[in-house]
């Protein structure tokens, strides 16, 4: 789509796009290019020169036991975060949608945790499950369960998943509720008259009609779990124990800044870049389709 009216001039529009183009070039394209370039080198042990290794960093990465483990960790982590946060959000949205009065109140009560930073969410959950002072730890200790996410890999993963999913429920709830309210009432009523009970209606009518929202949230939540949960991991587990919660983004940070292994970190960035590009393309395809309908 194009505008019929255009203003004349060449320098003015160039001036207008200049700030964004300059900032994008300096802080986006240049660093992204650097990441790709650096991924083809390894620095010598003294950090004085760079040695060309071609795809060596990638080969090394893909054969690296820890990196492959991190891949798997990321996959498990993002699937769990996505399923948990979307599941809870859908459940709450369906309930709120059933109300005639008060769904707005519940919405207000449920959406504001969106504003809580992942890192803060991490601190809150860390506090609850702290091995020494955590309230939840203490109470489940009474039940005979000895919680220790500092040592237990499964518990560590569980904690970062719940903390990450917790902050995301608001966002998903909002979209699910909007999606549910957009379904024409008459369709549901027709199904009810046809004799479909709640669960049948939900399974055969509501959920299929909700699928665009669900798909959209799926992609967005995976991207969230991949990148924005850094704060949760960093505050709660620091990637441990035994790298059990080292997701890819955390590893880029750990190898690049803590380990100072620039070549490997850059190669990891490039891989992440590819992953996020694929996700973006998938999402864009979906957006395009939605625009057409």
């Amino acid at each position: 789509m194009e505008k019929r009216v255009t203003f004349k001039g060449i320098w003015l529009p160039l001036l207008l796009v200049a700030p964004q183009i300059v900032i994008t070039a300096v802080f986006f394209f240049y660093p992204a290019g650097q990441a790709i370039w650096q991924s083809l080198f390894i620095p010598d042990p003294f950090g004085l020169s760079m040695q060309w290794v071609g795809l060596g960093n990638f080969e090394f990465l893909l054969s690296d036991r820890f990196y492959r483990a991190s891949f798997l960790t990321t996959a498990i982590f993002s699937i769990l975060v996505t399923v948990v946060s979307m599941g809870v959000a859908l459940y709450l949205a369906v309930l709120a949608d059933r109300l005639i009065k008060g769904s707005g109140t519940y919405r207000t009560l449920l959406i504001w945790p969106y504003a809580v930073a992942p890192a803060v969410a991490g601190v809150l959950w860390l506090f609850m499950f702290n091995t020494r002072v955590g309230v939840v730890t203490w109470y489940i200790g009474l039940l005979g369960y000895d919680w220790n996410h500092v040592l237990n890999e499964g518990e560590a993963m569980g904690l970062v998943v719940v903390a990450s999913a917790w902050g995301r429920i608001s966002y998903n709830f909002l979209f699910f509720l909007a999606g549910l309210q957009a379904i024409p009432k008459s369709v549901i009523e027709a199904a009810a008259i046809d004799g479909a009970r709640f669960w049948t209606r939900f399974r055969t009518i509501v959920f299929p009609l909700l699928s665009p929202t669900t798909f959209f949230l799926l992609v967005v939540n995976i991207i969230y779990a991949f990148f924005e949960t850094f704060g949760v991991i960093h505050t709660i587990t620091g990637g441990g124990p035994q790298q059990a919660t080292t997701i890819l983004v955390y590893k880029v940070y750990a190898d690049g800044f803590v380990g100072q292994d620039l070549g490997s970190s850059a190669a990891q960035s490039v891989i992440l870049l590819l992953i996020v590009s694929v996700l973006t393309v998938v999402q864009f395809k979906y957006i395009e389709r939605r625009v057409h309908y």
């Binding site: 203003f7 160039l14 900032i23 650097q34 930073a117 924005e228």
Partner: protein
Amino acid sequence: MAGQGGMVQKRGSGLWLTHLGLIVGVAFIFFPIWLAFVASTVDQQAIVRPPMPLLPGDKLIENYTRALTSGVNAPVATMLFNSAVMALGISLGKIAISLLSAFAIVYFRFPGRTLFFWLIFLTLMLPVEVRIVPTYEVIANFGMLNSYSGLILPLIASATATFLFRQFFMTVPDELAEAARVDGAGPMRFFFDILLPMSRTNIAALFVILFIYGWNQYLWPLLITTDPEMNTIVMGIKQMFPSGDDTADWPVIMATSILAMVPPVLVVIGMQKLFVRGLVESEK
């Protein structure tokens, strides 16, 4: 007789179960925050001897004063200020440059227009986390470590806002620009007199989203602010935990967590309508 918004109406026990389910959900969402709040109102002793109380104590003013004025490494008031500068810088900066570039792309035909459009498009959704090392080097080379510009500029390079404004400008009737031309308004006059006032709600909605985005940044400030005086509050909390085996100053840490939540939460609740709209539109 018709049910609201999709489901056929529930009566009696069903209705109560619905409320119960929602209340459990709300409780789940609230509990961690409530606990943090309680912890920020009691003294350290009440926390380190579990179980900690579940109702607020009487140390609220004391703990918050301590956090704001001295904190652990830096006064939380300083960190709040840093966060505010960063969040405002990112949101206002993004809005400003995006408005200008979207205006140029929609209302002008100029060489490189398509190229710029795609260059901007490429940055869509590519988070800063992916390119941290080289971006860090750029900032270091510019001498922008521990500076507000270093905190803000790399996060402005994103396309979402540009796309939102482009979409909105496309829906502005062509006749308005033509009427402005007939009225004798040049492009910038049209931009400031007509387009900008018409975009007010969109700008406000986007502001809410971007403010929260900026406020909640973690990794980037963690990397480039080594000076505690430049820490933002969200990243500063983690810095308050002692390394090693010392006991954390929980009341102050929790008071800081609550303080870190207050501004963005206020923005979300105060501007709920705009927030919902901004969220839904920026994802379109």
